[in-house]
Subunit: 329 residues, 2 copies
DNA sequence: CAAGTTGGGGAAAACGTTTCCCGGATTCTG
DNA sequence: CAGAATCCGGGAAACGTTTTCCCCAACTTG
């Protein structure tokens, strides 16, 4: 028996093999508990069967959900997921992309957003472009043009929609706790908030305060807000964690939410359900799974659409932290 | 120039190469933007430079923190992390282990706990043993003997300690919301609770109720508890999420925590800090990073201790959801 | 019965490294 | 100055697959 024969039956080639030989090979493979080396296989294949995902921090549930979406479809398709935390550093991103490129990943997914005017972004774009020339697929999952297919949501519209909701609840003076300074997603969400307020003729009532993306930022921002009366009618936070932080600070101070002030977030992570937070639901899992699906399908030759941008829809989720304004401030 | 020469200067061999030649190689490599194939390198190395981590669900922050610990040291050591979600299914675990074995991972880390009397565990143990024979290191991070080095905490002691704390606060009737039925960690934490209650002479006051590991389970358990008065003096939950769920149900029902009832959890995840939950802090990040360190060091030949079990210490964290009992029930 | 056809299987190349072995050139040593 | 030691660089094997090319045997058909 030659190795070629074994390979033919084990890897399901179209080259005909007699039933007898096939059985012999199968028996031998079973006895030896043989499992082909994915490495050697990768050497002769266009890719290694690895799918990479670059997240800012896997501990952040936002990214964990995306990663879960990626891994689920990757695994189902027979791939293995590679994960790297890049802490929002473009340099690190470039480095990890390179590492995954060295493994001839079928594709790499960029889950994180970037900074506006980041001087290193051009280098990343160049790195992505070179990786793609080598046959490594890339997908961006954020408001960031990496010169590759992008699957994202309209963060402006999301912020706009939830602001509209707050406005429809008769809130006139609304504070927006921003995300981390300089991030594209921060800008987009702020833009959406501001645009909605403007359109509602409430530009005067719009008040942006610096924040971040974590609980502490929301807590601190709310504390600062309370230190400088009058309190706004509502607080929109850049994301759910910030909203929960703000909520916590407000309630700690004895302020009734939503009685005296409404609070809303963006993302609809688990924590939002738990505290009954009004928010806008983003299809994070779908973004991850779609990105992975794009990669495995395109790796299978079924060339999916190229550098197109797919915008997934968001959905307003009203819960208990927002209510119609009743006070006559 | 021969490939061998290039390899020598690029991979830092001890074989001498003249400065002139070295410079030429370096220049050529720079011009070509050459980066060695990790795959080809893996073919001739004892391992591929990949480190695998098997988690139940990366969306669960418990595992996300572990994964983060793994990835941080793996990346620093020049490795790349592979991630797989196994949803607590031993079969899936076996399958993913096999996939990672096919990639000749330097090691695989089992982050999840198992079920008692799981009929498939012996198969997993066998699979681990075979993987180790092939030079693939394995580390277990839970109360589960996989025939490999184990880095874990003493869940019994953790539950015991926090129960002691509750008892020291004069709570006599304490309900314990259990983890998912059948899991080893569920059993251990329950054992610790029961033992502490017994030792305190409070066996009568110990009341175990079925639960799970998520917010909903805690919420539901608390609702059931309230439906069947009298309310216990305190509730200890199998983990933080359950505790937060219970907390939420209790407060929703207008019950004052910690005034009327104390609530405590286990794990000390971010959510525990946010709601001010008394809990016991588990060194999750350290478990992940230690496991990864064990793997990379042992892969470098510095043979770390073998199948020894390392037990990391936990720490009681008292916050605002527990207080001394004042009511005269 | 001869020639063509087809089914089945083997040999070898290719993927890109690292490392072992060897030979030529240079330098040191006696 | 001869021999030996040293220094450098090249050739080739090995890692484990898949795939292409080729060949042989058996069967079919005229």
């Amino acid at each position: 028996m030659a190795v070629a024969t074994a390979s033919r039956v084990l890897s399901g080639s179209d080259h005909p093999v007699s039933a007898r030989t096939r059985a012999k090979v199968l028996a031998a493979a079973a006895k030896l508990e043989y499992s082909p080396s994915a490495l050697a296989r990768a050497m002769v294949s266009p890719h290694s069967g690895l799918v990479g995902v670059l997240v800012s921090d896997i501990v952040n549930p936002y990214f964990a959900v995306i990663a879960r979406g990626v891994d689920d479809v990757a695994t189902r398709a027979g791939y293995v997921t590679m994960l790297s935390n890049v802490d929002r550093r473009t340099d690190t991103e470039i480095g990890r992309l390179r590492a995954m490129r060295d493994y001839r990943a079928a594709g790499v997914i960029f889950a994180g957003s970037g900074y506006v005017d980041d001087p290193r972004t051009p280098d990343l774009v160049k790195a992505v472009s070179r990786a793609r020339e080598e046959g490594i697929r890339a997908v961006s999952l954020a408001d960031r043009d990496l010169g590759c297919p992008t699957i994202t949501v309209d963060n402006r519209a999301a912020a706009h929609d939830i602001t509209d909701h707050l406005v429809s609840l008769c809130h006139r003076r609304i504070a927006f706790i921003e995300g981390p300074p300089g991030m594209t997603v921060t800008q987009h969400r702020r833009d959406g908030f501001l645009a909605a307020m403007s359109t509602a003729g409430l530009a005067e009532g719009a008040h942006c305060v610096p924040g971040g993306f974590d609980f502490e930022a929301g807590h601190a921002a709310a504390v600062r807000l309370m230190a400088r009366p009058p309190l706004p009618d509502a607080v929109l936070a850049a994301n759910d964690e910030v909203a929960v932080g703000a909520l916590s600070a407000l309630r700690q101070a004895g302020i009734d939410v939503p009685g005296e002030i409404s609070v809303a977030g963006i993302n609809d992570l688990r924590v939002a359900q738990h505290v009954g937070l009004t928010t806008v639901s983003l299809p994070l899992y779908e973004m991850g799974s779609m990105a992975a699906r794009h990669i495995v399908e395109s790796a299978q030759g079924e060339d999916a659409g190229d550098s197109a941008t797919t915008t997934l829809s968001h959905r307003l989720i009203t819960r208990e932290t927002t209510a119609r304004r009743t006070s006559t401030a």
